[in-house]
């Protein structure tokens, strides 16, 4: 495992390096805002003591909101991406900052403050020249605490489409790649430790009072300042925003692959640059609002999901209604569908191969005669859901011999070694490519159709007409079996989504 992580880190340093940089950017922004804002708040409540208690209670309360729900609350206000992440991180960073500033300021010896006042300092002079410097050790402890926390917490920012090392963690989790997850976590830990060490060093230097130490300090401060300015310039400099296409994907293995395909093809066929935000947490419910705000230009979506979740239509979607779907998108949302990949990622029912052969099973209707002899296995959730087990039995009039709860990750194993005979699947499951199972046709159309295609901003297509031609090239090139195989390569064979995507496009002759 260690070796795997090592080779992953060295082999994909470009990827991790840019995430690391982004992680630093997001954390730094939040930290700086928190220092200024939290510091000011701390100072103000130490001056107006009566406001201290309510303020600290509010800050405390904000701190106790679970980070996932905090991000959820913020999305309607600030959308998806780095801004929301910075806001959330700032909110959490406030508590240590405000509390330590307040404690530090109020613990300064009152005799010293009275001396300062008695000698004719204005309030501001007393605060800046006397109280703040004396409170600094306590404030600095708060800052160190807060910085470490913020860097760690920034790891969850990827949940809402922000960048940073959380992207690696999240991608590792969704594509079943433990080495990736651990590498991301490892880098976050290293970053936090390094920054804490640097702050500790600064703190120690600032405490040195010799004449020479002070000269050295001044020199180091200037050097650090110049370095910081250079870094900021380098980060801020690249512009040309309107030549960039922002592509989002949902946190699913196949979407990671599609994202890489889109990026490769668009960058090959046009001179547009692609900014890929992989695996936005919450999927459609977070990407769709961001599309409407114009933060993303396109993302791969499924027709059934668009019908029910985005257009909020009732009833079962079938592909006969595709024109209506697209019209509604164009009319109501100023979005359209271009480039339908061909595969359909819907739910399905699969039986072990030998059983299908023995009884000649092809469609779900065929099950009626044999159901009473079969064991039905599914994840716990399936037996609870409205459109789960009960709907299946009712639609096709089935009664199985027995049902069994299983872990999602182990169900293909369970069916191949005979623990269960029949189970629900997703039609693009990577494991379907290798498992000896037969997927039964949903002949009564119990499940909606979920064909995959790109939802695109119409405005973007007008601005860059060449984009439409690229997206059209994806029409019908990926079958369910193709998608299963590619998912399998990423999830089980641990190949990179980008590599899998490129290999497929090359085989199809689309990528040079």
């Amino acid at each position: 495992m260690l070796k795997e992580i090592g080779s992953l880190l060295t082999g994909k340093w470009d990827f991790f390096g840019s995430l690391l940089l982004e992680h630093i950017e997001i954390s730094t922004a939040a930290i700086l805002i928190a220092i200024v804002f939290g510091g000011l708040t701390g100072i103000l409540i130490s001056e107006y003591r009566r406001t201290a208690k309510p303020t600290l209670s509010i800050v405390n309360f904000l701190y106790t909101i679970p980070s996932i729900s905090m991000l959820g609350f913020l999305i309607p206000f600030s959308g998806i991406g780095n801004v929301t992440a910075v806001i959330a991180l700032t909110i959490y960073a406030l508590l240590p900052m405000v509390r330590n500033t307040y404690t530090g300021m109020t613990n300064v010896d009152p005799a010293i403050l009275e001396a300062a006042k008695g000698m004719g300092s204005t309030e501001l002079q007393r605060i800046i020249r006397i109280q703040l410097p004396l409170a600094m050790p306590v404030i600095m402890a708060g800052i160190r605490n807060m910085v470490t926390m913020t860097i760690a917490l920034a790891g969850i920012a990827s949940f809402i489409g922000a960048g940073g090392l959380g992207v690696a963690i999240y991608r590792g989790i969704t594509t079943n790649n433990a080495a990736m997850t651990i590498s991301g976590s490892f880098l976050i830990a290293v970053l936090a430790l390094v920054v804490d060490f640097v702050l500790g060093f600064v703190e120690k230097r600032a405490g040195l009072r010799g004449r020479r130490a002070r000269r050295q300090n001044r020199f180091m401060a200037v050097a650090a300042g110049i370095l910081a300015v250079c870094v900021i310039c380098a980060v801020v400099a690249p512009g040309h925003k309107d030549r960039v296409i922002h592509v989002a994907t949902k946190p699913m293995t196949e979407q990671y692959i599609l994202g890489e395909m889109l990026k490769a093809m668009i960058q090959q066929d046009t001179d547009l640059k692609v900014e890929l935000t992989q695996g936005v947490g919450g999927g459609t419910s977070n990407i769709e609002p961001a599309m409407e705000k114009g933060e993303f230009d396109l993302y791969p979506e499924y027709t059934g999901t668009g019908w029910n979740m985005v257009l909020k239509r009732d009833g079962l979607y079938s592909e006969k209604e595709f024109d209506t779907l697209r019209n509604d998108y164009e009319k109501n949302l100023n979005l359209t569908w271009v480039g339908m990949y061909g595969f359909n990622d819907t739910f399905g029912i699969a039986v072990r191969g030998e059983i299908a052969e023995k009884y000649g099973l092809e469609s779900c209707s065929n099950l009626k005669r044999v159901a009473s002899q079969l064991v039905f296995g599914a994840e716990y959730d399936f037996f609870q859901r409205k459109d789960g087990y009960d709907m299946l039995c009712k639609t096709y009039g089935l009664k199985f011999r027995k049902t069994r709860d299983m872990d999602m990750g182990l169900k293909y194993q369970a069916i191949s070694n005979g623990k269960v005979d029949i189970m629900p699947i997703n039609t693009t499951d990577g494991q379907l490519a290798k498992a000896d199972v037969t997927v039964l046709r949903d002949d009564l159309h119990m499940y909606p159709s979920y064909r995959c295609g790109n939802v695109v901003q119409m405005e973007t297509l007008e601005k860059h007409p060449e984009l439409r031609a690229v997206l059209r090239k994806f029409n019908g090139i990926i079958t369910n079996e193709d998608m299963q195989k590619m998912n399998y390569q990423v999830e089980t064979q641990k190949k990179e989504p980008a590599a899998v995507a490129k290999a497929f496009l090359k085989k199809k002759g689309l990528l040079r």
Binding site: D109, A111, I112, E114, A115, A116, K117, G118, M119, G120, S121, T122, Q125, R129, I130, P133, L134, R209, R211
Partner: protein, 248 residues
């Protein structure tokens, strides 16, 4: 001689406690007034009402003939030297920065003038110039007191307020500091208010002694007057042991 500070029917109340019931007194310019009394007698309260650190509950304080209610308190405080118990230096500033604190409050541009003032006062209070870069924690108790005095005087005030400045030093250093303070006073001719609870110190330093008890003036007079004709029982008790041998 004209009046430096005048108190007119001064009154100070904390909640239900009357600290100063009714306090009136005129102090001439150039006096060294030692204020003595047991703790809680209101001597520090009177001192802090001169530079407006405490606001009177009633009555008025006049400094150089002006009611301090009409003055900008910040400017007033900068023009009055202030040194409190143990001198309380700013621990994060060097000796130089401590002494230059008040001049720097005015403005930081005339650095040359400030540096000269620092040098002058360090010399007067007997501090070696090599100590400039030291921090208070690196000084002896006596040196710290001297820095405290220099800091209070650096802006060349006409009035100096001192609240038990030598409370925390040993007897020998204390004697030296008292002698030096007396010399500085004689050299500059400023008006000094010096709070103490030590009758020796009060008699040795003061040109006038203000004896207070329970917020009221027991006696205000020269050391001689206080020694020879104590006005109340409290003053009598205070000077009892000097009946026969006046302090040197």
């Amino acid at each position: 001689m004209s009046t430096a500070v005048e108190f007119r029917h001064l009154r100070k109340v904390y909640g239900d406690t009357v600290v100063i019931p009714d306090f009136s007194l005129c102090i001439e310019k150039g006096e060294f007034v030692t204020i003595i009394g047991s703790s809680g007698c209101g001597k520090t309260t009177v001192l802090k009402m001169i530079n407006g650190l405490y606001e009177p509950s009633g009555g008025d304080v006049f400094v150089n003939g002006k009611n301090i209610r009409d003055l900008d308190l910040i400017a007033l405080r900068r023009s009055i030297g202030y040194s409190i118990q143990g001198s309380v230096l700013f621990p994060h500033m060097t000796v130089e920065q401590n002494i230059a604190y008040v001049p720097n409050l005015w403005n930081r541009r005339d650095r040359e003038k400030t540096r000269r003032a620092v040098d002058k006062w360090m010399d007067i209070v007997g501090l070696d110039a090599g100590l400039k870069e030291r921090y208070p924690a690196e000084l002896s108790g006596g040196q710290q007191q001297r820095v405290g005095i220099a800091r209070a005087l650096a802006a060349s005030p006409e009035i100096l307020l001192m609240d038990e400045p030598f409370g925390a030093v040993d007897a020998i250093t204390r004697g030296q500091l008292q002698k030096e303070l007396k010399q500085i006073y004689e050299k500059t001719g400023i008006t000094v208010f010096f709070v103490t609870h030590d009758i020796d110190e009060a008699l040795r330093l003061g040109t006038r002694i203000l004896v207070m008890d329970r917020g009221e003036i027991q006696q205000y007079g020269t050391p001689d007057e206080v020694l020879r004709s104590p006005k109340t029982d409290y003053v009598k008790m205070l000077v009892a042991r000097y009946r026969d041998e006046p302090p040197t």
